[in-house]
C-alpha cells in the first residue's frame, strides 16, 4: 500500500486550527479531510477509511476520547492523535489508556506532529498489509495452504511431498501457484505470508 492512500482526518472545532492544519499537512503532501465535531466525522465515516485521526480533546458534543471509543466500538482500528489546548495530565492519561498513538499540547511543534503522524501511519500500514495478506491467503485452496505451512517450517519440496503423500513435482506446481496467487517473488516472501496467516486475521 502506498502512503498516499492514507488520509489525515482532522476533527477540531476551531476553524483556524482546522484550516491551518489542512494547509500545512497538504503542503507536506498529505491527504487531509476535516470535520468540526465528532458527530460530523461519524456521519461521514466509512469502514474502508485508512490513515489517522487528529482529534481535539474538547469538542462540542462528544470529546476526542469519546470519539475514539465510539470508533473502537464500531470496529475501526484507525489510530488517534489527541490534541488539546488545555494540557492537563489526567486527560493525557485517559487518552493513552484509550490507546491513542500520541497526545499533543497545542501549540505543538510541527516536528512533533510529523513524528506522531509517522507513528500512526506505520501502525496503519502494518494493519493494512496484514489485512491484504489475509485477503490473499483466502484465495488459496486447502492443499495449497498445507504446502505453504510446510514450506514456512523450512521443509524442502521432497520433504513436503513425503509428508503430504504427494509427488515432489506436484509440490513444485502448488508452490508456483501459491507464489502467483500471493504475488510473492521468492520463498522468503512466502514465509512472511505464512507467518501473517498464523495470528488471527485482522478485520477486513
Amino acid at each position: 500500500m502506498q502512503p498516499e492512500s492514507l488520509t489525515v482526518y482532522i476533527v477540531d472545532d476551531d476553524a483556524s486550527v482546522r484550516d491551518s492544519l489542512a494547509l500545512m499537512l497538504g503542503l507536506a503532501g498529505q491527504r487531509t479531510a476535516f470535520f468540526a465535531d465528532a458527530e460530523a466525522f461519524l456521519a461521514a465515516w466509512r469502514a474502508d477509511w485508512a490513515g489517522c485521526v487528529i482529534a481535539d480533546l474538547r469538542l462540542p458534543g462528544a470529546s476526542g476520547i469519546e470519539l475514539q471509543a465510539e470508533m473502537r466500538r464500531r470496529g475501526s482500528p484507525l489510530p488517534f492523535i489527541i490534541i488539546t489546548a488545555h494540557g492537563d495530565v489526567p486527560a493525557a492519561r485517559a487518552a493513552f489508556r484509550a490507546d491513542a498513538v500520541d497526545f499533543l499540547e497545542k501549540p505543538f511543534d510541527h516536528e512533533q506532529l510529523r513524528a506522531a503522524i509517522g507513528n500512526a501511519f506505520s501502525k496503519e500500514n502494518l494493519r493494512l498489509r496484514r489485512a491484504a495478506d489475509a485477503g490473499r491467503l483466502g484465495l488459496l485452496t486447502a492443499r495449497e495452504r498445507e504446502v505453504l505451512a510446510a514450506a514456512a517450517r523450512g521443509l524442502h519440496a521432497k520433504e513436503i511431498a513425503r509428508e503430504l503423500g504427494i509427488s515432489a513435482r506436484t509440490v513444485e506446481v502448488h508452490k508456483t501457484r501459491i507464489m502467483a496467487k500471493l504475488g510473492a517473488r521468492n520463498v522468503a516472501e512466502l514465509v512472511r505470508f505464512a507467518l501473517a496467516a498464523e495470528p488471527p486475521p485482522p478485520a477486513k
Binding site: S20, M24, A85, H86, G87, K106, P107
Partner: protein, 520 residues
C-alpha cells in the same frame, strides 16, 4: 547597651507600676496589698514576658519601692522584703510559663486566651497562698479569716492580670496597636464608649442602689462592641469598664459597696468580652481566608480559560507560519530573507506559547502529588533556580544547610514554583535595598517533622502592615506583575501541610515550612 536599655525600661516601668498600685489600692485587707484589683501585676508580667526574665531584679526593686511609697511598709522591712520576693518571683515564673506557651507573645486565638487565663488563675492562686501564708505566719492578718484574704488576693490579682495583660500585649503588638488606633478613629467607638460610661453611671448612681444588681446591663453594650470591633474593641471595653468600676467604688467608699462581688462580675465580664472578641476575629479571619481562596480559584480558572483561548490562535499561527516556510522551499519561490523573517515570527509565537504555558503551570490545576525528595536535591534545585533567575548576579545567592537533613515529602514541581517565586521576589528586592546585595537561603530541621527554609535578602523588607497583605491575591508591591505569586505560593505550601510566612523586618525574610517524609 542592654544595661542601658534595661535602665531606660525600668525608668518607664517603675513609675507606671507605682502609679497603678497607688490607684488600685482600695478596700484592702488590713494595710496590705490585698485589694480587689491589682493591674500593676499584669504590667510586671507583660514586661517580663516581652522584655525577658532578666528584669526580675528591677521588678523586685519596684515592688519594694511601691510597698514603701503606697503603704509605708506596714509589716516592717522584713515582711515587706519577703512578700515582695514572693510577688516578683511568682510573677517572673508566670511570665516564664507564658513565654513558653505563647511563643509569638500575642493573643491570636481562643486557645491563647485560654492559656493566659489558665496561667493567670493558677499562678495567682499559688502566689496568693504564699503571700497570705506569709502574713498569717507573721500574724499580721488581724481579724480577717485566711480563706477570705486568699479569695480577695486571688480574685484581685487574676482580674488585674486578665484585664491588663491583653491590653498591654495589644499595645505592644504593632498589628494590634494599628487596629486599636483605627478603632479610636471610628465615630462608632465614641458612641460605644459613651454607652458604656452611661451604663456604668446607671449602675452606680441609678435607682438600683446596689451596683452589683444592675451590672448585667453592661453585657449588652459588650456584645455590640465585641461583635463590631473584635478582640481589639473587647480589650479596650473591658479595660474601660474596669476603670469605671474602680472609680465608682472609690466614690462610693462611704456606702461600703460589695467590692468583691463587683470584681467577680468584672472577671466574668472580661472573660466573656475577650472570648467573644476573639471568636469574632477568628470568624473574620476564616471569612478572609475563604475570600482569598475563592479569589485565587477564580484567578486559576481565568488563567486556564485564557491559556485555552490563546493557545488556539497560537496553534493556527504556528501552522500557517510553517506552511509559509514549506511554500518558500519550492523551486521558483525561494526567498531566504522572507524565510528568515517567518522563522523569527514562528520563534515569537513559540515564546508566547511558553508564557501561556508557564502561567498555566503556575496555577497547576492538577492535584498535589507528594513523593519523598532528599533535602540535598531540594537545595540543588534552589541553586539551579537561583542561577536561572539571577543570571549574572547568581553569586549573591548563598545556600546554607545543617548536615543530616531528612527527606522531604512534597510535590517537586509545585515546590519549585514556590522557590522560583521567592527567589525572583528577593532578586527584585535586593535592587531596592542598600548594597552589598545578598540573598541567603537557609535550611533548618524542625522538631515537629518539618523542614524550615528561610529566604533572607538585603532588600528593604516588609512593614508589619504589608506582612500579611502581600499574601492577598492581586496585591503587589511591584510595578509589574499580577500580585498572585505569593498568594499561590502560600496556597501550595498549605496544600502540603506546611506554611509560608513573612517576617516584618528591616530586611526581607520569608519562612517556608515543608513536611518531611514519614519514614526517615
Amino acid at each position: 547597651m542592654s544595661l542601658l536599655r534595661t535602665l531606660r525600661d525600668t525608668l518607664v516601668f517603675a513609675p507606671c507600676y507605682i502609679a497603678l498600685d497607688w490607684a488600685s489600692y482600695i478596700d484592702p485587707v488590713g494595710p496590705f496589698n490585698i485589694t480587689p484589683w491589682n493591674p500593676q501585676h499584669g504590667l510586671a508580667i507583660v514586661w517580663m514576658m516581652l522584655g525577658g526574665l532578666q528584669h526580675v531584679g528591677a521588678v523586685l526593686g519596684t515592688v519594694v519601692l511601691a510597698e514603701a511609697v503606697v503603704r509605708g511598709l506596714p509589716g516592717g522591712a522584713v515582711i515587706a522584703m519577703l512578700t515582695s520576693v514572693t510577688l516578683a518571683g511568682g510573677y517572673a515564673a508566670m511570665a516564664s510559663v507564658l513565654r513558653t506557651l505563647l511563643p509569638d507573645r500575642g493573643l491570636r486565638s481562643a486557645r491563647h486566651l485560654t492559656l493566659l487565663a489558665g496561667v493567670a488563675l493558677a499562678g495567682t492562686a499559688l502566689v496568693g497562698t504564699a503571700f497570705v501564708g506569709l502574713l498569717r505566719g507573721a500574724n499580721l492578718l488581724g481579724a480577717t479569716p485566711v480563706p477570705e484574704a486568699l479569695l480577695r488576693f486571688w480574685l484581685g490579682d487574676a482580674v488585674g492580670i486578665l484585664v491588663t495583660a491583653p491590653l498591654l500585649l495589644a499595645v505592644a503588638d504593632a498589628e494590634r496597636r494599628a487596629g486599636l488606633l483605627a478603632l479610636a478613629r471610628r465615630p462608632e467607638t465614641l458612641l460605644q464608649a459613651a454607652v458604656l460610661a452611661a451604663t456604668l453611671w446607671l449602675i452606680f448612681y441609678g435607682p438600683g442602689g446596689d451596683p452589683a444588681r444592675l451590672f448585667y446591663l453592661l453585657f449588652v453594650p459588650l456584645i455590640w462592641i465585641a461583635a463590631r470591633g473584635g478582640m481589639n474593641a473587647a480589650v479596650a471595653a473591658t479595660a474601660l469598664v474596669q476603670i469605671g468600676v474602680v472609680l465608682g467604688i472609690r466614690r462610693e467608699a462611704g456606702a461600703a459597696p460589695p467590692v468583691l462581688e463587683l470584681q467577680a462580675l468584672v472577671a466574668a465580664f472580661t472573660l466573656t468580652g475577650l472570648y467573644l472578641g476573639m471568636m469574632v476575629d477568628e470568624r473574620e479571619r476564616a471569612a478572609q481566608r475563604l475570600r482569598q481562596t475563592l479569589r485565587l480559584a477564580a484567578a486559576g480558572e481565568t488563567a486556564g480559560a485564557i491559556a485555552h483561548e490563546v493557545n488556539q490562535p497560537l496553534t493556527a499561527l504556528a501552522n500557517y507560519g510553517q506552511s509559509a516556510l514549506m511554500l518558500l522551499e519550492r523551486p521558483g519561490l525561494r526567498d531566504p530573507a522572507l524565510a528568515e523573517i517567518i522563522g523569527k515570527m514562528l520563534q515569537e509565537s513559540r515564546r508566547a506559547a511558553e508564557v501561556v504555558r508557564r502561567l498555566r503551570d503556575f496555577f497547576h490545576s492538577g492535584t498535589t502529588r507528594l513523593e519523598p525528595l532528599p533535602a540535598g536535591e531540594l537545595l540543588a534545585a534552589v541553586r539551579r533556580i537561583g542561577r536561572q533567575v539571577l543570571g549574572p548576579e547568581s553569586e549573591v545567592l548563598r545556600v546554607r544547610a545543617e548536615s543530616g537533613l531528612p527527606d522531604l515529602y512534597v510535590d517537586r514541581t509545585q515546590i519549585e514554583v514556590v522557590i522560583r517565586n521567592l527567589i525572583a521576589n528577593a532578586h527584585e528586592a535586593i535592587h531596592q535595598g542598600a548594597p552589598p546585595s545578598a540573598i541567603e537561603v537557609q535550611a533548618q530541621r524542625q522538631d515537629d517533622g518539618h523542614l524550615r527554609l528561610v529566604f533572607a535578602d538585603s532588600g528593604p523588607g516588609l512593614s508589619a502592615e504589608m506582612r500579611e497583605r502581600v499574601f492577598e491575591p492581586f496585591v503587589s508591591g511591584k510595578a509589574s506583575g499580577l500580585g498572585l505569586g505569593l498568594a499561590i505560593s502560600r496556597a501550595i505550601a498549605e496544600a502540603h501541610g506546611g506554611s509560608l510566612s513573612a517576617r516584618a523586618a528591616a530586611h526581607g525574610e520569608f519562612h517556608l515550612v515543608l513536611p518531611c517524609s514519614q519514614n526517615p
